[in-house]
Each structure stands twice: as C-alpha cells, then as structure tokens.
Amino acid sequence: MGRVLSGAEILLECLIEEGVHYIFGYPGGAILPTYDALSKYPQLHHVLVRHEQNAAHMADGFARATGRVGVAMATSGPGATNLVTGIATAMMDSSPIVCITGQVSRPVIGTDAFQEVDVTGVTLPITKHNYLVMDIHELADTIREAFYIARSGRPGPVLVDVPKDVQNEKIEWEYPTAPVKLPGYRPPAQASEPDVVAALELINNAKKPLILAGHGLMMSGATNEVRELAEKAQIPVALTLLGKGAMPEGHPLTIGMMGMHGVAASNLAIQEADLLIALGMRFDDRVTGNIKTYSPNSKKIHVDIDPSELNKNIQVDVAVAGDLRAVLAQLIPGVKSTAHSDWLNTIRDWQEDADEREILRRDTGERLLGAQVINDIWKFTGGDALVTTDVGQHQMLEAQYYPHIRPSTMITSGGLGTMGFGMPSAIGAKLGRPEEEVWAIVGDGGFQMTLQELATAVQEHVNINIAILNNGFLGMVRQWQELFHERRYNETHMFSPDFVKLAEAYGIPAMRVTKREQVEEAIAFARSHDGPTLIEFVVEKEDMVYPMVPSGADLDAMIRRPKPNEA
C-alpha cells in the first residue's frame, strides 16, 4: 500500500528521485502548495532568485556545468512568462532544464483567472516538450518523462505546468518503477553501416580535412573520441563558440573558434578544406557567413543527434544521425593514420600572419583593452577557470583570449544571444561544480539586465568572481554602427551606476581597475575572497573585435586588424 501524499509532495519526491538537489525559483500563489511542502524535504535546496528569468539561467548554467538536468520553479502568470527568455536560451543551446510552473486551479482554467496564462501555449515553440498536468495520477510519470526528455537525445528544456488544485489533491501513491513509455520518442544512436563506409571513404582520401567541433561533442561525452580521431589522422580542429572545450585549445591540432569573430586561420581553413567533418554543430549563420560560398571545394560529413539539423543549412555528402560518442567509436578503427603535413603547414602560415596582427603584442600605451583584461584573467587563473559570459564584445573576446583546456568550462548564450545570461548562469554553474573557480565575464549593458541576482549570490554565499568590462557602450552594437552605420551611435552610449558602490551596497567586495598594472592585483583580490566579488574594468570605449565577417558576407571576407606596418 502506498502512502497518502499531496500532488505537491509527489512532485517533490519525483524531483528527489531524479537526483535533484538545487531548485532555482520564486514562490507565488499558484505554486504555493509546493513551496509549503518544501520544508518536508531537506534534501532539496531552494535558491531564491530575484527574477524568474534568472532561475531559468541558473538552472541552465547548472546543467551546462554538470551535464545534469537543472530545475527552475515559478508561479503562474507573470512568474511563468518571466521564465520565457531563459527557456528560449536553453532551447537554442540544447541545455537540459526542467521548469515547473504553478497554474490556476482546474475549474478556473480558461476563465482568465487572476495570474492565469496559457504557459504551455506560450512555451510551445521554445521547449523540447511541455505538459499541463490535469490529473494527479499522471503527475509522477509526467515528471519522469520531463527529465528523460530533457536530458536524452538532443537535450533541451521541458516545462511542466501543474494546476494548484492538483498540487493540493491527495492520493495513495507509490513511486512508479515501470519505464516511461514514449512511443514517439526515439533518439538515434548509431550510424548505419553504409554511412560509416561512406564517411571513412571521404576521411581516408581527404588531403585537406578539417573537423568542426561543436557543443554536441561535450553533451555526448565524446571529447576523448574527437581528440583520438584528430590525432590519428592529423586532422586540424576548428571550434564553434559552444564547442570551446570540445578539443583542448593549445593542442597543436586545435586552430580555434570559427565564424563571424573566429580566428582567421579557422575560417580560411574552412574555405580551403577538401573535407569538413562537422560534429555536433549546426551550421548556424554566425558560423557559415554566406552559405552560397561556404567551403566551396569540400565534401562534407555531418554527424548530429538531431536528424532535422542534417541538410538544414548546408547540404552535405554524408549525413549521419547518431550519438557522437557511438558514431566516432564506429569510425575511428577504420581511419587511417596520416600526416597531412602540407595542409597543417598552410594553416600554420595563416596563424603566423594572425600573430603579426595580434593586439596583445603591441604597446597600447595608457589604454586598457578588453582583450588584455581577459588574457590576464586567463593567465592569473592558470587557464583553468570555469567562465560564463554575457553577449557581445566581451563574449567574443573571451572566446578569443581565454583558451579552454577542459570540456564544459565555458558557458555562454550562443544561439539566442541573451544579454544578462552571464552572472546568473555563473551562480548555477558554481553551485553545480563548487570545486571550480568560476568567473562571470560580463559587459556593462548585459550586467544591468540581471544584476538583481547579486542579492541571490550574497544570500546563498556563492563564490563567483564577476568581471565587468565597462566600455560605456553596448560595445558590439556600437561596433556595427561604426562599421555599417557611419558611426551613428544611436542609443548605444550608456550611463551606468558606480558598480563598486553598487556591489558594496550588496555587501560584495569590489574594485575598479582603470590601468593595466592594476589588473593582476584586482584578479588576486577577487580570488582571495570567499563569496561573490566584483571587479569593474574600465576599458577602451571604442574598441573593436577582429577579425569580423560582416553579416552574410563570405567567410574569408574578414575585416582584419591591420598589421603594424599597414596601420
């Protein structure tokens, strides 16, 4: 015989069964029965956020840092709609989160009751799947399905909307042990034999092969396999933004990030290659530039767990729907050892050309540049921190100047490009991986979108280091205005509060840095404090991120920083 439990208790017991410890959330009327039941389950730790969007970002940061499902909770109506940007962020970057929302009671659903919103309707296009639980007997299986769907296949957000009276209802209940039944949910696993043969044929005959390494490699746990493939056949590797960490940067075969602000050698290699091996990436427009002229001379192999990504943006020669770890294990034994020395030398020449243009090698006088700050953070954290970012120039500078060695140590909103993502996702990441040194590198614009979570960081005593690169502008938008709108800086110049005083108002130790020689000391200051710290780096106002492929331009039509003798 089962125990008699309320829907709220069933919900929380199901979360515990899924291994949940942290719930990022915010209470309210329609979710109140569940908050009331929380005190019965000390194994659950609720993190009270200051805005529900950030609950989703924290769950997302937790999920990306740990590979486990993050959980966000909110009430009905505005609580639920506030989650939307966070859910869309997780959707675009395939991050496994489960959002639990309270809903008005069943008898008043559809009557425009107080704080009623059709949240399953609202989130339909931005969730992997969602549920409205209208029967308490379906609650437990729904939670189990939600977690299974969120973390399996191509991961993504799942929302479960639970009416208040379902949370209050009581039934005799035991945890169901039968496997969840999802007849229509069958993520692909392995490559078919003809696909393997066709892919090996291309790999073993390529003269100028290139691996495009994406986020999927880390989610599949295939980082060792991609390294083995690259080393066995001496294939260079270009990384997507979210693919940073899929292959160690600094490895002789890793070229660096590709795309709009990618390193020039990666983009040139893509255009010059005779074979692209795209692994767990999706040929986003920020990666391809003009698709009509993209990698014109190459055969293409694309492996992704989501069949709908294959032949979506770029037509490929071998399209494999499968789990990367399994597919690479199928491929590697058939890959012939090769040297590809001519091809690697060509790439090395491109890299040397880029070195000549490198801003870090120049005397920049009194000016403090974002690139210098991020490179110093890299240096003084031993290149081994877990870094989250916002969106914009500082994000691209992080991608360029903070090489990551280990998987899942760079967390950023790539697909949706959500400003304000950096700091809350750092809180989630730090709680998920407390042993990591966590830095949130943010801009003055994005930080002001979610800075209310400073209070959460203090309340939970989360040891994160916040580095604000303050250039007084929405820097990336300003860069576009400079390049494409004749320097008409409409509405990108931005007033900011005194960030140091602001931090102090929250009781957060803070420093302001305006000169290069203060950078090291400030980083040491941040690292020496337990709990959150904040450093404001006042950087060059009108700095540019190079190289840049203008939107829709050919990938090799990069705007480069001039060499010193050309400037």
């Binding site: 399953t120 309707g121 339909l124 296009p125 992997k128 799947h129 409205l132 769907i149 039944k181 999802l182 007849p183 229509g184 949910y185 069958r186 993520p187 692909p188 696993a189 392995q190 490559a191 078919s192 003809p194 696909d195 066709a198 989501d306 069949p307 709908s308 294959l310 032949n311 979506k312 037509q315 490929v316 020669d317 071998v318 399209a319 494999v320 729907a321 499968g322």
Partner: protein, 185 residues
Amino acid sequence: MPENMSTKHTVVALVENQPGVLMRVTNLFRRRNFNIDSLSVGRTHRPQISRMTIVVDSARANAQRIMANLLKLVPVIDVANVGADLHVSRDLALVKVRSDDADSRNALTMIVERYPARIVDIGNLYAIVEITAQEDRVEQCIHELEPIGIVEMVRTGVVAMGRGARILDSSYERTAQPSTNGYHV
C-alpha cells in the same frame, strides 16, 4: 499517372491521440515556415492513435526536412512520405450549387456522371454534390460545376495511404530503438 502534383509533398503522421497534438504539428509548420496545403486528422482503428495527412507546398522544404521535424515532436510516433511512392489519395468535397431550373439540373446530372460524384441532396433551389476522388479530379469537377453557380463548398483535405505492403505501423507498443534517419545524397 502520378497521384499528386510534383510541387507538393504528401506526408502521413501517426500521433498519440492526446490534447494539443494538432497544435504542436501546426505550430511546427508555422514556425519553420512550411506552407500547409491541406491537413486532415482522424482516429485510427487503435483508439490511442490518430493519423494526419499533411500536404505541404514543397517550395521551401523537402520531405526529409519536414519528416525529421515532425519526428522531433514527442507525440508523433511515426512519419511516412506517402506521396513519394505508390499510394492512394482522396479528397472529398461537398458542393452546393444552384438547381432552380431544368438547365441547371440537366447540367448537374451530366457532370456528376463523369466523375466519382453523386447528388446527395436536391431541392427546388439548391443541390449538394458529393465528390470523392484524387485532388486533381475534385478540382476538375468543381471547375465544371462553377458555371452552374456554386454557393457553398467544403472540402476535407487530402487523405492518403500507401499501396500494397507499404504499411505505416501504428503498433503502440513499439518502444525505443536505435534508428538512423540519416541518408546519403
């Protein structure tokens, strides 16, 4: 004779019979900017399974992309590109036309004889013609009825089924198994 025009794809989906499935499917087509030409849904012989026949304008998407996106929807159990192989497809129209004089009634009778159509209701003012045929035959019939004077019309949209052993299995017990949806070009 081809069963459908080459500019269209006829895709069949077996879906779990639960609230919101139709919305998920139509939302997908809207979001991906695939144009739905017609969509019809109905129960199957298994009460928990419904079957949809979706005719899509192919200008923006190939059948492979449409099917891969449909299969991503959790309640979609299976999908087939029925239009790509031998199949039977039917559209049904009810057409209300003028029947208030001898000419119109004679014309009606003659047209109906040449199509898989019949007059299912006739009065002093109006008659209802039912036609069940391939979509292009339905179109032709309607075209012929037009001069008589159509006052009202309804169509079900195309339903389709593969011929012979081309069976879309609706067994509910089909459980998770590896399947590659990849293909060579």
